[in-house]
C-alpha cells in the first residue's frame, strides 16, 4: 500500500513556506511520514499535519509583503508573442483588425446616434414635469389623437384644475413671420406664447428678462436672431415690426434652442399670444383647435394622476357636434415627446424609439460579425498554435495562464482595431451627420465618453477572445506533441454555425435595406394626379402681396417664362384643412361628414395640372360656380355617389352643386390612401399661397429670377420666398429615405465584414489542404474539380444562411410595411435575387483563394518533403 502525505496540510505548507526551505522540509516531512505510516497510518497523518503547523513560524514563512508574482515579465512576454503572431500572419491580422475596426466604428457611430436620440430635451430643467396636452377624439369609430387645442382650454385648466399645475401655457404652433427693422426684413420661425412659456421651457436668458411677455408689445429673440438684426449691439429695448403690422419691443434674448430639442428650429422668436389673438381671424370656441397647450406640473403631482384628472375637462364644456367626438384629454410628458410620439387608438404606441432599437441592434450585430471573424480565424488556425500550447503546458504553464495569454492577444487586436475605429469615426462623422441629418459632435475630452468606449472595447475583447482562448488552451499537450493531434470531425461545426449566423445577419440586413428602398420607390412612383415639375409655391405673408396679386399675375404671364399663376389656401402637396358636417343625399346619419377642403381660385386646377375625369373645371363663364364643388374620386367614394355631377351638397348652411370630379391627388402623406377632398372657390379671401407654373420652355432658374424681380417690385416690404413643389414632395419621404440609406450602408458593411471573414477562412483552408491539393493534382484532378471541392462547403453554408434569413427577413419587413397604408409587397423574387446575390458574393470571395490554390504548381509544395 502506498500512502501519501495528507493533501491539505501539504498544500498549506507549500503555500506559506519559503521556497528555498520547502524542498528540504517537505522532503524530510514526507520521509518521516512514510516511515511512520508503515506502522500507524492514521497517527502519521495527524503527526504530519501537526508538524506542518509547527513550521508556521516567522523563519519559515515566506515574505508576503515583498511577494511579487513577477507577472509583469510574463505579461510583457505575452504581448511580445502576441505582436509577433500578428506580424507573422499579416493577412489574417489585417482581416481581423480591419473587420473589427470597421465594425466598431459603425457601432460607435450608431452609439453616438442613439445617445443623441436619447438625449432629446434632457437639457430642459423641467424635463420631468412638463407635458403637452393632447386630445383623443372618436371619429367614424376610430380614435384620433391630436396635439391641437382650443383657446378655451388654457383658462379652463387654470381655473378648474389649477392645483395640479404650476404653469399652463397656450402657444401657437410654430410658424413663419416677417420681422423687420427698417430695411432689414427677414422671415423667421417662431411661436406666439403666453407669458409663462419661457419659464416653462427653461430658456437660458442671455440678456434682459423672460418674464415680461405679459406686455402685448414685448418680444423675445433667440441669440442668433438678435445677431441677424443687431450684430454686436445690445438689442434690449429696440423695436422690431412683426408681420408689417405691430411694433414689438425686445425685452430679452435667450440662447439658441439646442439641436436635440423638440423645438429645434422653431423658436427664433417668441411673441405674446395676444398679438396673434388681436390680429383677428381666429375662432375661440371649444371646437376650434389651433393652439398647443403645455403644462408644468405642480410639485408632488404625479403625471399619470394629472393626466387622468383632466380627462373630461373638454367633454364637460362642449355640446352638440363636439360632444359626439367624445374628446378626452391626456398629458404627453416631455420625456416621451421625441421617442414616443405615435398614438394608435388613443394609446401611446412608440415612435422613433423603434429606430433607436433597430439601429442599436444593427450596431451590436455588426460588432458581433467582426467578433465572429476573429473567433473563426483564431480557431481555424489553432493547428498552428497547438504545438506552442503543448510546449507551454509541458514547461509548466497552467490553463489559466494560457487563457490569459490568448485574451491578451485578442486585447492586442481589439486595441489596434479600436485606435483605427476612432480614426474612422473622426473621419466619417461629418458624412454620417449629413446622412442622418444630425449635428453630432464628439467631445473628445469627455471622460465618460472614454469610459464608455474603453468599456465597450473591453467587452469586445471578452466577446471575441473568450471562445478562442478557452478552445486553444484546452489542448492536451501529450496529444499535440506526439503529433497524433487530430482536429475532430466536428471541430469545424461551431465555426460553420458562426459563419451561418454571420451570413444570415448580413442577408437579413440586405433584405431590410432593399425592402425599404423599394417601398420608397413604390411611393415615389405613385400616381400623384398633378404635375410636380416646374410648380413653385410662394407664401402670401403680407397684405400687400394680396393686394398686388392681380397686377403681379398679369406681369408674370406677360413675361412669357410663367405659364400660369393661381392662389390657394393650402399648397397642393400639403392640403390639410378639413371640415365636419357636410350633408348630402343618401348620407349615413352616423357619418360625421368629414371631408378635406381646398379653397382655390379659377386657375388653380390649370396651374397644378390636375385631371378632370368627369364634368368640368371652375370657370369664370359660370357665375354660379361660386357655389360649386369639385370632388376628387376618393370623395365620391366616401359619399357613395353614383352620379356625382349635379349632386347637391350642404355645408355650413349653404348649398353647393358638384360640377366636376378630379382624379385623386397625393395631397398628404405618400403612404396613406388618398383623402376625400372637395375643392371650392375661395370666397373668404383665405389665400395663403401663390402657385406658379413655370413655362417648360423657359429654364427654371430664369423663371425664378423673373419671379423674384417682379415680386420684389410689387411687394417691397415682403421677403421673397419660394419652394419647388417637388422639393416639398421629396420631404414626404426624406425620413424613410434616410433610414433606407443608413440601413443600406450598414448592410453593405455587414456583408463586407462577413466576406472578409470568409476570405480569411477560405485562404486558410486552401493553405491547410495544400499538400492534399497538390497530390490530387498530380493524380489528375482538374482545376475546376479542385475549385468545386474547395468552394462546396462555403456554398452550402451560404445557402443554409439564406434559407434561414429569408423567412426572418420577410417576417420582419412585412411587419414594417404594415404601418403604411400605401405599401409595396415583398415578392419571392426579391428574396431569391438577394439569395443569389449572396451566393455570388460568397463564390467570388472563396473562388479567389480556391482558384489560386488549384492553379499552383504541385511540385512547389511536394518537393520539400
Amino acid at each position: 500500500m502506498k500512502i501519501n502525505p495528507p493533501k491539505r496540510p501539504l498544500q498549506f505548507l507549500r503555500w506559506f513556506c519559503r521556497e528555498d526551505y520547502l524542498e528540504e522540509i517537505e522532503g524530510d516531512l514526507t520521509e518521516v511520514f512514510k516511515k511512520q505510516a508503515q506502522s500507524h497510518p492514521r497517527q502519521a497523518k495527524w503527526k504530519f499535519a501537526w508538524s506542518v503547523v509547527k513550521y508556521f513560524r516567522p523563519e519559515f514563512i515566506k515574505s508576503f509583503k515583498n511577494y511579487q508574482p513577477n507577472a509583469y515579465g510574463m505579461y510583457k512576454s505575452y504581448f511580445k508573442v502576441g505582436w509577433r503572431n500578428l506580424l507573422r500572419s499579416k493577412g489574417y491580422s489585417l482581416i481581423n483588425i480591419g473587420g473589427l475596426a470597421l465594425g466598431m466604428s459603425v457601432a460607435i457611430l450608431i452609439g453616438l446616434w442613439v445617445f443623441d436620440e436619447l438625449s432629446y430635451n434632457k437639457h430642459q430643467k423641467n424635463y420631468d414635469s412638463v407635458a403637452a396636452v393632447l386630445q383623443n377624439n372618436t371619429e367614424d369609430g376610430k380614435i384620433e389623437t391630436w396635439s391641437s387645442q382650443s383657446y378655451q382650454l388654457g383658462p379652463e385648466l387654470r381655473n378648474s384644475y389649477g392645483s395640479y399645475f404650476k404653469f399652463v401655457v397656450m402657444s401657437s404652433f410654430a410658424g413663419n413671420s416677417i420681422l423687420a427693422k427698417e430695411e432689414k426684413v427677414f422671415t423667421m420661425t417662431g411661436c406666439f406664447m403666453e407669458a409663462d412659456g419661457p419659464e416653462l421651457l427653461s430658456l437660458q436668458m442671455m440678456k434682459g428678462t423672460s418674464t415680461g411677455l405679459k406686455d402685448p408689445s414685448s418680444l423675445l429673440l433667440s441669440a442668433s436672431a438678435a445677431t441677424v438684426f443687431f450684430g454686436a449691439d445690445d438689442p434690449i429695448g429696440k423695436v422690431l415690426k412683426l408681420d408689417n403690422s405691430v411694433d414689438l419691443k425686445i425685452i430679452g434674448v435667450y440662447q439658441d434652442i439646442p439641436d436635440n430639442s423638440s423645438f429645434r428650429g422653431e423658436l427664433a422668436f417668441i411673441a405674446p399670444l395676444e398679438v396673434l389673438v388681436n390680429r383677428g381671424g381666429r375662432n375661440f370656441g371649444w371646437g376650434n383647435n389651433w393652439l398647443q397647450v403645455f403644462v408644468q406640473l405642480a410639485e408632488n403631482v404625479d403625471m399619470q394622476q394629472a393626466s387622468i384628472a383632466i380627462k373630461d375637462a373638454k367633454m364637460k364644456n362642449v355640446d352638440g357636434d363636439d360632444k359626439r367626438f367624445k374628446p378626452e384629454l391626456l398629458l404627453h410628458p416631455m420625456s416621451k415627446w421625441h421617442l414616443y410620439s405615435d398614438f394608435k387608438d388613443g394609446v401611446n404606441v412608440g415612435g422613433r424609439i423603434e429606430f433607436v432599437w433597430l439601429f442599436g441592434l444593427i450596431g451590436v450585430f455588426v460588432v458581433l460579425l467582426a467578433c465572429i471573424n476573429f473567433m473563426n480565424l483564431s480557431t481555424a488556425r489553432s493547428l498552428k498554435r497547438s504545438k506552442e500550447v503543448g510546449v507551454r503546458k509541458v514547461i509548466g504553464s497552467g490553463r489559466g495562464e494560457l487563457i490569459r495569454q490568448f485574451f491578451i492577444e485578442s486585447l492586442l487586436v481589439v486595441s489596434l482595431a479600436f485606435i483605427f475605429s476612432i480614426l474612422l469615426v473622426h473621419l466619417f462623422l461629418p458624412w454620417f451627420n449629413l446622412i442622418a441629418s444630425k449635428n453630432i459632435r464628439i467631445d473628445w475630452l469627455n471622460p465618460s465618453l472614454w469610459l464608455a468606449l474603453f468599456a465597450s472595447a473591453l467587452f469586445v475583447t471578452l466577446l471575441a477572445g473568450s471562445y478562442p482562448s478557452f478552445y486553444l488552451s484546452a489542448f492536451s499537450p501529450i496529444k499535440v506533441l506526439k503529433g497524433t493531434f487530430r482536429v475532430g470531425k466536428y471541430a469545424a461545426l461551431p465555426r460553420k454555425a458562426l459563419v451561418i449566423v454571420q451570413f444570415s445577419v448580413s442577408v437579413i440586413l440586405a433584405i431590410g435595406a432593399t425592402v425599404v428602398y423599394q417601398q420608397i420607390q413604390f411611393a415615389k412612383n405613385r400616381p400623384i394626379g398633378y404635375e410636380l415639375n416646374g410648380l413653385v409655391t410662394v407664401p402670401i405673408q403680407t397684405q400687400e402681396v394680396k393686394k398686388n396679386y392681380h397686377v403681379l399675375r398679369n406681369e408674370l404671364l406677360a413675361s412669357g417664362v410663367i405659364a400660369e399663376v393661381s392662389t390657394s389656401e393650402t399648397t397642393v402637396t400639403n392640403l390639410w384643412w378639413s371640415d365636419w358636417g357636410y350633408e348630402w343625399k343618401g348620407k349615413d346619419p352616423n357619418s360625421p361628414g368629414h371631408i378635406y377642403r381646398g379653397a382655390i381660385d379659377y386657375e388653380f386646377g390649370k396651374t397644378i395640372g390636375w385631371k378632370i375625369i368627369e364634368g368640368r373645371d371652375f370657370s369664370r363663364d359660370f357665375p354660379s360656380d361660386s357655389s360649386a364643388f369639385i370632388l376628387n374620386e376618393a370623395a365620391v367614394k366616401y359619399m357613395g355617389l353614383k352620379n356625382p355631377i349635379g349632386e347637391n351638397i350642404r355645408s355650413l348652411g349653404r348649398n353647393y352643386t358638384v360640377i366636376g370630379v378630379v382624379e385623386d391627388m397625393v395631397t398628404q402623406s405618400l403612404y396613406e390612401s388618398n383623402k376625400q377632398t372637395i375643392f371650392v372657390l375661395d370666397r373668404f379671401d383665405r389665400a395663403n399661397f401663390i402657385n406658379v407654373r413655370i413655362n417648360p420652355e423657359a429654364g427654371a432658374s430664369k423663371a425664378i429670377e423673373e419671379l423674384n424681380r417682379l415680386f420684389v417690385k410689387y411687394n417691397p416690404n415682403t421677403p421673397f420666398e419660394y419652394k419647388f413643389a417637388d422639393d416639398e414632395f421629396a420631404g414626404k419621404f426624406s425620413f424613410e429615405a434616410r433610414v433606407g440609406k443608413l440601413v443600406g450602408i450598414f448592410a453593405l458593411i455587414a456583408i463586407f465584414i462577413s466576406c472578409l471573414g470568409l476570405f480569411g477562412l477560405a485562404s486558410f483552408m486552401a493553405e491547410q489542404r495544400l499538400k492534399e491539393i497538390s497530390i490530387r493534382k498530380v493524380l489528375g484532378a482538374t482545376v475546376s474539380g479542385l475549385w468545386q471541392m474547395l468552394s462546396k462547403d462555403f456554398v452550402i453554408m451560404t445557402i443554409a444562411s439564406c434559407l434561414l434569413a429569408a423567412p426572418i427577413g420577410y417576417y420582419l419587413m412585412n411587419g414594417w410595411l404594415q404601418q403604411y397604408e400605401y405599401r409595396n409587397t415583398i415578392s419571392g423574387w426579391l428574396l431569391l435575387i438577394i439569395g443569389i446575390g449572396a451566393l455570388m458574393i460568397t463564390l467570388t470571395t472563396v473562388s479567389f483563394q480556391a482558384v489560386k490554390a488549384a492553379l499552383m504548381n504541385p511540385v512547389n509544395s511536394l518537393k520539400s518533403e
Binding site: I25, G27, D28, K34, K35
Partner: protein, 108 residues
C-alpha cells in the same frame, strides 16, 4: 567569537551533524538524536536548529539526490564548518575546565 551563542538543542544538533559527517540531513539527524536522547523529537525543531546554526555559519549545506520515499524532494545535507568545529571545541573545553574545578567531595 564570544558573542556567538549556541543553545543547548542547537549544540546537540551541531554535534550530531559533526558525528554523522556528510550523511547528515534532517531525518538522519532526527533519528540520531531520538536514539541518543531516548525521546521523541519533532522534525520541525531539528529544522529550526539547523537553520539557526547555518545562519551563524557553523554548518554549510548542499542538496543531494532524490530518493523514492521523499516524494520527489531532494535531501539537504549538512557539513560542519571549521568555525562550527571550533565552537564545539570551545564549548567542550569550557565545560571540561569548569568540570575539573569541581572539588572532589564525596557525593555519596
Amino acid at each position: 567569537m564570544t558573542q556567538q551563542s549556541l543553545g543547548e538543542f542547537e549544540e546537540l544538533v551541531l554535534l550530531m551533524v559533526a558525528a554523522l559527517h556528510d550523511e547528515a540531513y534532517g531525518v538522519a539527524i532526527l533519528e540520531g538524536l531520538e536514539e541518543k536522547l531516548k525521546k521523541k523529537v519533532n522534525i520541525s525543531a531539528v529544522h529550526v536548529a539547523l537553520k539557526r546554526i547555518e545562519d551563524k555559519g557553523f554548518v554549510k549545506s548542499r542538496f543531494g539526490g532524490i530518493t523514492e520515499d521523499r516524494g520527489g524532494r531532494r535531501k539537504k545535507f549538512y557539513v560542519i564548518t571549521a568555525l562550527g568545529k571550533k565552537i564545539l571545541d570551545n564549548q567542550y573545553a569550557l565545560r571540561t575546565s569548569i568540570y575539573q574545578q569541581i572539588p572532589k567531595i564525596s557525593f555519596g
